[in-house]
Each structure stands twice: as structure tokens, then as C-alpha cells.
């Protein structure tokens, strides 16, 4: 009985992706790759997700470090706030971003006086990705940093390392597997981001149309095109998963040989 239940779920997880792969042909693939929507959407997706990932790493790492080290009430409250975007639906985040950066939003008037427009631009795509994806990284990074024995840092300092050196040469390498896993998760989440982007950045080909939005647009015109776009996104996710699974083993082998 249990096996049947498990098999039901498993087929539900695998079947759609298999069907996706089976429902296309080489001709469709080449035609899809040549389609005018494809190139710009893929480039925009790669550019914005890498930028939002860089921003997330830069700002999320110190935040995660503080969350892991501090025992204060403020840290626990902050942890809760950081988790909030994970449980809030992306559409809600899209509306919330509009209410923040939109013309009539909280930051609208000061931004307008500076001549800065954010909604429906590439910056909006980026912001939406950061808000929905960064919590996954911060959560994973904080958990990884918690496993770093504080004594190793005290020892590193006593051996002559400054605080930043001890962090970079002791804490980060020890936490690295967790940091990489968190960063990958955040990147994958940003790559798939749809709802908040659609509401806050729109769906303008060549400007704010990322791959998921291009699939949405293609579906209205030609299902085969949507299938090709979807396959490319699925392949990127699959490659990431494979890399994540293989990386630790390769790492250990390299370290074992060193």
C-alpha cells in the first residue's frame, strides 16, 4: 500500500518532465532557439539571475553570519522577517513591491524627484528575484554558519588572523557546502520567478521578459514553442541539481588527494 502511494507521487513528479521531453523534436528545438523571443529572454534571465545572486551573496552572507552568531531577541525576530517572503505568495510580493517602488508607493515620491523609475524595468526584475530568492540563501547560510565551532575562530584569531581573515579562511570554508547549496537554491528560485516579476516588472519582450514569462507568452501563440522554452529551463535546473549532487563527491576526492 505504502509503495503504491509512494509510486503515485513519484510518477506525478517525473511524468510531466518526461512528457515535456517526449513532446518535442529536433526541428522544434532548432526552430525554438531561432525564435526572436528566445535569445533576449534567455540572456535577460541569465543576466538578472546572476546579478541578483551576486547581490544576495554580498548582502546575505553578513546577515546570515549575524543571525548564526547572535543570541539576541532582535536576531530571532530578524530571522522570522527573512523567512516571510518564503511563505508569502509571489503575487503578493509583486503587489507589495509596486506599493513600495511604484509611483504611488512608499518610496515613489523620493524616487520620482530623483528621476528614477523602477517598476517595469530590468531593475524591477532584479528586485523581484532578490526578494523571493534571497531568503533561501540566508536561511541555508545561517544554518551552515551555526555549525562552525566558535572556538575555531578564537584559535584563528589567537594565531594572528584578523576578524575578516578568520571569517574568510576558517568560517567560510567550513560552511562552504551549505553556502553553495543555499546559493544554488536561491539561483534556481530566481530563475523560475514568475508571479512577482509579472506584476512588478511586466512582460515586455527584450526588456523585462525572462524565460518563465517567455513561456507564458509563447503558450498563447504556439504550444510547441512553449515546450522548447520550458525544456531549456528544465535542463538548466537539472544541470544545477546534478552539479550539486556531484560537487561534494568531487570535492572530497580532490581534498583526499591533496
Amino acid at each position: 500500500m505504502g509503495a503504491l502511494l509512494a509510486a503515485t507521487l513519484l510518477s506525478l513528479l517525473v511524468l510531466p518532465l518526461g512528457a515535456l521531453a517526449l513532446s518535442t523534436s529536433i526541428d522544434d528545438l532548432t526552430a525554438g532557439a531561432a525564435h526572436p523571443l528566445f535569445g533576449p529572454a534567455l540572456a535577460l534571465s541569465l543576466r538578472t539571475t546572476l546579478l541578483s545572486l551576486a547581490f544576495t551573496l554580498l548582502t546575505g552572507t553578513p546577515l546570515a553570519w549575524w543571525l548564526a552568531r547572535s543570541t539576541s531577541r532582535a536576531a530571532r525576530l530578524t530571522e522570522l522577517l527573512v523567512d516571510l517572503p518564503i511563505v508569502v505568495p509571489p503575487a503578493v510580493i509583486g503587489v507589495a513591491l509596486l506599493q513600495t517602488f511604484g509611483r504611488r508607493g512608499v518610496l515613489g515620491p523620493p524616487l520620482e524627484s530623483l528621476g528614477v523609475t523602477i517598476p517595469f524595468t530590468e531593475v524591477a526584475v532584479l528586485l523581484a528575484q532578490v526578494v523571493v530568492a534571497a531568503p533561501f540563501y540566508v536561511q541555508a547560510a545561517a544554518n551552515a554558519f551555526r555549525k562552525v565551532d566558535p572556538d575555531t575562530l578564537i584559535v584563528a584569531r589567537s594565531l594572528g588572523a584578523s576578524a575578516p581573515t578568520a571569517f574568510l579562511r576558517v568560517a567560510v570554508p567550513i560552511a562552504l557546502p551549505g553556502l553553495v547549496a543555499g546559493a544554488s537554491l536561491a539561483w534556481a528560485r530566481a530563475l523560475g520567478e514568475f508571479g512577482a516579476t509579472l506584476l512588478f516588472a511586466g512582460n515586455m519582450p527584450g526588456r523585462t521578459q525572462t524565460m518563465p514569462l517567455a513561456i507564458f507568452a509563447a503558450l498563447e501563440a504556439d504550444v510547441r514553442l512553449a515546450v522548447v522554452f520550458a525544456l531549456v529551463l528544465a535542463a538548466m535546473g537539472g544541470a544545477l541539481l546534478l552539479a550539486l549532487r556531484l560537487a561534494p563527491a568531487l570535492w572530497r576526492r580532490r581534498r583526499g588527494a591533496a
Partner: protein, 237 residues
């Protein structure tokens, strides 16, 4: 010195010469905190710390030498080895950063020499994860000694070891502490350590020094129930 950690207050005056000092006391008496204050990892409320004529911390004179400039060899209770580095690179770490930095070849050579001297030269290529407790303790001591510290701090160096390893490491420490010849503070729970390592004893209870002296003095006139129990006399009922 005076230090505060949470609602715990440490109020201590310590003096010692080259003869190693044992810090004993019940759990929560402030032993580890005291070591960390000496190391510079915990900031005391007020303190005058001087080692070998060098002022490390002086509230009166407004001196506060940061931990990385103190030349303190600190071996924490769990040894605090860097799990991502080989034994050799663990020991060479202290020569790879800050004021003592030397080039890679020189620091690896010196690290290997210290490991050899402590009888664990064969472990150089291993990673800490695969070492026994006794081996980890020797490597941690090698790592602390490579910077030629002015002060050595050992937090319960024998607590995590089984009886056989404990005897071996006790003999090992006795030999190398004598050779070290500089101030050393050892936190311990075991009166046999005090006897074997010929330590001066400082008894800490509730953040205060209750008694100090050598083992004979403590035996002759234990100041508290804890001291009586520590030196092996039945506590007065």
C-alpha cells in the same frame, strides 16, 4: 581583572611565574571565561593583564592589545582544529597570517618540525576528522606552540580522552610544558594532572579565587568543600 558574561561576574587576581598554573573549580565557576579573557577573545569590564613584562590589557592605562597581537597559544576544550585543512596546514596557519607571516615553504618547514618534535610528524598529511582524541590534542598543541607564544592556555586538555590516552598525553604534556618554560594556564578537573604536571593550583568558585598554592598546601588546609574533594579528602559533613 573583572569580566562579565551575561549575569555572571568574574573577579580574579592571578599571578604566576614560569611554573604552570592549574585552574580548577566546579562547572560554571568561570574557568573558560578566564582563559578567554586572557586570550583576548572576551572583553573584560576592567582588567590589568601583563605577561612577561608586556601589558596586554590595562583598563587603568587604556591599553587593549587585540587577540591577534597577543602571542597567546590557545588550545580550547574541543581542540578547535580547522576541519578543512590538513594537519600540516593547521599547524602552519599561525605563520600564514598577520605579523608572523612567512612564505609557504618556510611555514610548512617549521610546522613539520614542531609536529616532529611532538612525535606526530607522521600525521602531517591527514585531516583532523580522522585523528584520535590524543592525536588531535598533540596537533592542537603543536599549532599553539608554532607561534612561540608568550603565554599558553590549555582548556581541559585531557577531559575528552579515554584512560589510556589520558595517561599518555599527561606524560607528553609534562615533558613539553617543562621544555616550554613560559607561563601556562591549564584548566583541569583532575588532581592527577596537578600532581603529574607539577602545577600551582588556583581554585575558582563562582567567579572568585577561593584558594591558591601547590597541592600540599591545598591538602593541608582546604579552604572549601570543593577543594577538599578535589585533593581527595572527604568533604566535611
Amino acid at each position: 581583572m573583572r569580566a562579565r558574561a551575561g549575569d555572571f561576574t568574574l573577579d580574579v587576581a592571578l599571578e604566576g611565574d614560569a611554573r604552570p598554573l592549574a585552574l580548577v573549580g566546579p562547572n560554571g565557576s568561570g574557568k573558560t571565561t578566564l582563559l578567554r579573557v586572557l586570550a583576548g577573545a572576551v572583553r573584560p569590564e576592567a582588567a590589568e593583564i601583563e605577561v612577561d613584562g608586556v601589558v596586554l590589557h590595562s583598563t587603568a592605562r587604556g591599553v587593549e592589545v587585540p587577540i591577534e597581537q597577543r602571542r597567546v597559544g590557545y588550545v580550547p576544550q574541543g581542540y578547535g582544529l580547522f576541519p578543512h585543512l590538513s594537519v600540516l596546514d593547521n599547524v602552519a596557519f599561525g605563520l600564514s597570517t598577520g605579523a608572523r607571516r612567512v612564505d609557504r615553504r618556510a611555514r610548512r618547514g617549521r610546522a613539520a618540525a614542531v609536529l616532529e618534535r611532538l612525535g606526530v610528524g607522521g600525521l602531517a598529511r591527514r585531516t583532523p576528522g580522522g585523528l584520535s582524541g590524543g592525536e588531535q590534542q598533540r596537533v592542537a598543541l603543536a599549532r599553539a606552540l608554532v607561534i612561540e607564544p608568550a603565554l599558553l592556555l590549555l582548556d581541559e586538555p585531557l577531559a575528552a580522552l579515554d584512560a589510556t590516552a589520558r595517561r599518555a598525553i599527561r606524560g607528553f604534556l609534562a615533558e613539553h610544558l617543562r621544555a616550554f618554560g613560559r607561563p601556562c594556564v591549564i584548566v583541569t578537573h583532575d588532581v592527577r594532572d596537578v600532581a603529574a604536571l607539577d602545577l600551582q593550583v588556583c581554585v575558582l568558585e563562582g567567579g572568585r579565587v577561593m584558594q591558591r598554592g601547590d597541592l600540599n598546601a591545598l591538602r593541608a588546609a582546604p579552604a572549601t568543600d570543593f577543594v577538599a574533594e578535589f585533593v581527595g579528602l572527604a568533604p566535611p559533613i
